[in-house]
């Protein structure tokens, strides 16, 4: 005690005051760290505007909005799964599967189906169901989420390929090009829709008991379980919502390309997880949120955009993305002051 009492500036504090100050310090520190991704984003934007030719233009701003759409929807879904400390590796598979089947359900060149909007709704329902199954397998059979979702992603990719038998369908449904090429004030419809889905995610996070349970699970699942909350059901819902968002992303992909194949999903998992981690989510769970995910997505998309604008050697681009994710995780570990690493 004598030692702590003699610490500079803390000599006159009682234990209670000292504790309160410590908490206040930590809170301030946390607040500051939470601002880091935002600061990074702002600096990136300023630097890119100054030094990257073609970045600070209306066309490019619209491009960025366009390119944010799909990762933002995926991030909206997977954020909850990450907060509970799980992971969903099936999002690429679900996305590819939904992109494939939706093109077979609406008017297309491959078969005689013409279900229109109903076909789109059925696709999202099917995708959501896949997430539900992933969730059930995860909680009821107690298979780690990364394993069950990895397997599920593979299964569903196979179904996706089977659905079109190697010959992707080209869409003839007029609504698809109308959505992909339509815009208000130059901003594409799809960007507005993605923003809408993101706002739904924000609403869920702010105003529902589901979201509070999600954070509680990420923090300490045991405590929540002892209060009588149906933790399993909350987890299943998180996976179903994640897959629902992945299906919508698949739908967007198919709309943008006007054709459907499983490859549409590929490469999105890495971008989304990078975005989440860069935004400040912790893969150990308990941390993260919609706004953080948005910031992360924008940062990652801007980096990708700038690398193309700068004409950076493609060999280096892959390495840059890897370095970014490692740096971001390193930062988040320092932030969380983890006691041990598994």
């Amino acid at each position: 005690m004598a030692n702590s009492a003699s610490l500079p500036g803390r000599g006159d504090l009682t234990i209670a005051e000292e504790f309160a100050q410590k908490i206040a310090d930590e809170r301030r520190h946390n607040q500051l760290m939470q601002m880091v991704p935002g600061i990074i984003l702002a600096s990136f934007a300023v630097l890119a505007s100054l030094f990257v030719g073609g970045f600070f233009t209306v066309t490019n701003a619209i491009n960025i909005l366009n390119q944010i759409s799909i990762p933002l929807i995926l991030a909206t879904g997977i954020t909850n799964v990450i907060i509970i400390g799980g992971i969903d590796l099936s999002i690429e598979g679900v996305m590819g599967f939904c992109a494939s089947i939706v093109t077979l359900l609406v008017l297309n060149k491959k078969n005689s189906m013409d279900l229109g909007v109903l076909g789109m709704a059925l696709t999202v329902a099917a995708g959501t169901f896949i997430g539900f199954v992933t969730g059930v397998l995860h909680v009821k059979m107690r298979i780690p989420s990364f394993m069950v979702s990895f397997g599920m992603g593979s299964v569903i990719t196979g179904f996706g390929i089977m659905s079109y038998g190697g010959k992707p369908a080209t869409v003839e449904y007029a609504l698809f090009p109308a959505i992909s090429q339509g815009s208000i004030l130059g901003i594409p419809y799809l960007s507005f829709m993605a923003l809408g889905i993101f706002l739904v995610g924000c609403f869920i996070q702010k105003y529902t008991a589901f979201a509070r349970a999600i954070y509680a699970i990420g923090d300490n699942e045991g405590v929540l379980r002892s209060t009588g909350v149906n933790v399993d059901w909350v987890k299943i819902k998180a996976f179903a919502w994640c897959a629902c968002c992945a299906s919508l992303a698949g739908l967007f992909g198919a709309i943008r390309l006007n054709r459907g194949e499983v490859i549409i999903g590929q490469g999105n998992l890495f971008t989304t997880i990078t975005a989440l981690v860069v935004g400040g989510a912790s893969l150990a769970g308990g941390k993260g949120g919609m706004l953080e995910s948005l910031v992360g997505v924008v940062i990652v998309v801007i980096i990708q955009n700038c690398m193309i604008l700068l004409g950076i050697n493609p060999y280096i681009q892959e390495a840059v993305k890897g370095v970014i994710i490692i740096l971001a995780v390193a930062l988040s570990v320092t932030r969380g002051k983890k006691d041990f690493v598994k």
Binding site: N60, N63, N66, Q67, L257, I263, I264, Q266, L309, P314
Partner: protein, 351 residues
């Protein structure tokens, strides 16, 4: 009683032996391809079936072995196929990767199974050094990349003068590397064509779409987009459509997927080169079959028939109707007894 049992068992054995020898006349054609996730790979498998259909009914059975680009899975699939059909197997292999052909060559040589390969060849491997490795065929990727580039250059407002960008496939992939070498060759011959940027999109149309969008913000005076395959070209076309630039900025690709054929028809794309999987799969199976049937002896074949390039089919607006009629509305027919037919020119393998 014991005698009766024994004689019954002997009878059963004899009948089984007769059955086996009858089955021995049937040939099992293994079509080892990447997956069924792509029109071209399906064409290869269909080519094998097409050849089988020219044989007497019931004398051949085709089985498709997929590997999803996984070397180990391909080897295991081939081993299992040989294990179940023995020396009555013949195999057409589209290798997951070049080095895998060396392992497959050893497996087939040990099992005395005739086989042929397409596209990739391990370094130092030469069918001529094997008894059961009948032949290797490929499509000249350099020529594909070159041909589509030149077609595009000639269609610029000022023919042979303009600015282009390139969408590249997976880094290090043989086809991507060869096609890009073809583009570079064309660029050398057309010094007035300026090559602004190359981006890797891993054969993914979604990435090609995003990349093209970004390019359109940077370059306002593009004349053409060279793409290493059709899928990426189609992604680029979607980005151009959103800006009303389709048809104005020329796009070319390789593979001949049906959506690309439609895009050529609509005027959104200049040309593509169809790889003709029917021809490759069909003749690949035919060479192995004739060796198995004893009608040819691989070691006595001329060198040009042991390793050769086949012809791709350059599809453009002018020959679109003909291509559709021959390849899409019907399955092409070939005289598989004419083994010289698919040979365009020999592949020179460095020993």
């Amino acid at each position: 009683m014991l005698k009766k049992c024994l004689s019954l068992m002997v009878l059963a054995l004899v009948l089984t032996a007769i059955g086996v020898s009858q089955a021995g006349e049937k040939v099992f054609i293994g079509m080892a391809i990447h997956s069924t996730d792509n029109e071209y790979w399906n064409q290869e498998a269909e080519g094998g079936k097409l050849f089988a259909s020219t044989l007497p009914p019931g004398s051949a059975e085709t089985q498709v072995l997929t590997c999803d680009g996984d070397d180990e899975k391909q080897l295991n699939g081939i081993k299992a196929f040989i294990a179940s059909h023995g020396q009555n197997s013949i195999i057409y292999v589209d290798p997951s990767n070049a080095p895998n052909t060396a392992a497959i060559a050893e497996i087939c040589e040990d099992a005395k199974v005739y086989w042929t390969s397409v596209w990739h060849l391990a370094e130092g491997l030469n069918p001529k050094n094997y008894q059961y490795y009948v032949m290797h065929q490929s499509v000249d990727g350099v020529k594909q990349g070159y041909d589509i580039a030149v077609k595009m250059f000639k269609l610029f407002k000022t023919p042979g003068k303009g600015k282009i960008v390139g969408l590249q496939g997976q880094l290090g992939n043989d086809s991507a590397v060869e096609r890009y070498a073809g583009l570079q060759q064309a660029l050398k011959e057309y010094p007035d064509v300026e090559f602004l940027d190359l981006q890797v999109c891993d054969w993914n149309p979604q990435r090609a779409l995003n990349t093209t969008e970004t390019w359109l913000a940077k370059y306002t005076d593009l004349d053409g987009i060279w793409s290493a395959n059709d899928d990426m070209a189609l992604g680029a076309i979607q980005a151009l459509k959103a800006k009303g630039l389709n048809g104005k900025i020329k796009v070319v690709g390789v593979d001949g997927v049906s959506a690309a054929i439609d895009a050529i028809d609509a005027g959104d794309m200049v040309c593509t080169v169809a790889n003709n999987g029917f021809l490759q799969g069909g003749y690949g199976a035919a060479y192995a079959y004739y060796a198995w049937a004893g009608k040819i002896t691989p070691s006595k074949l001329p060198d040009r028939q042991r390793a050769f390039y086949t012809e791709g089919y350059l599809v453009e607006k002018a020959n679109l109707a003909k291509y559709r009629q021959e390849f899409m509305n019907s399955v092409p027919t070939y005289d598989f007894t004419n083994l010289e037919f698919p040979v365009v020119r020999p592949i020179l393998i460095k020993d």
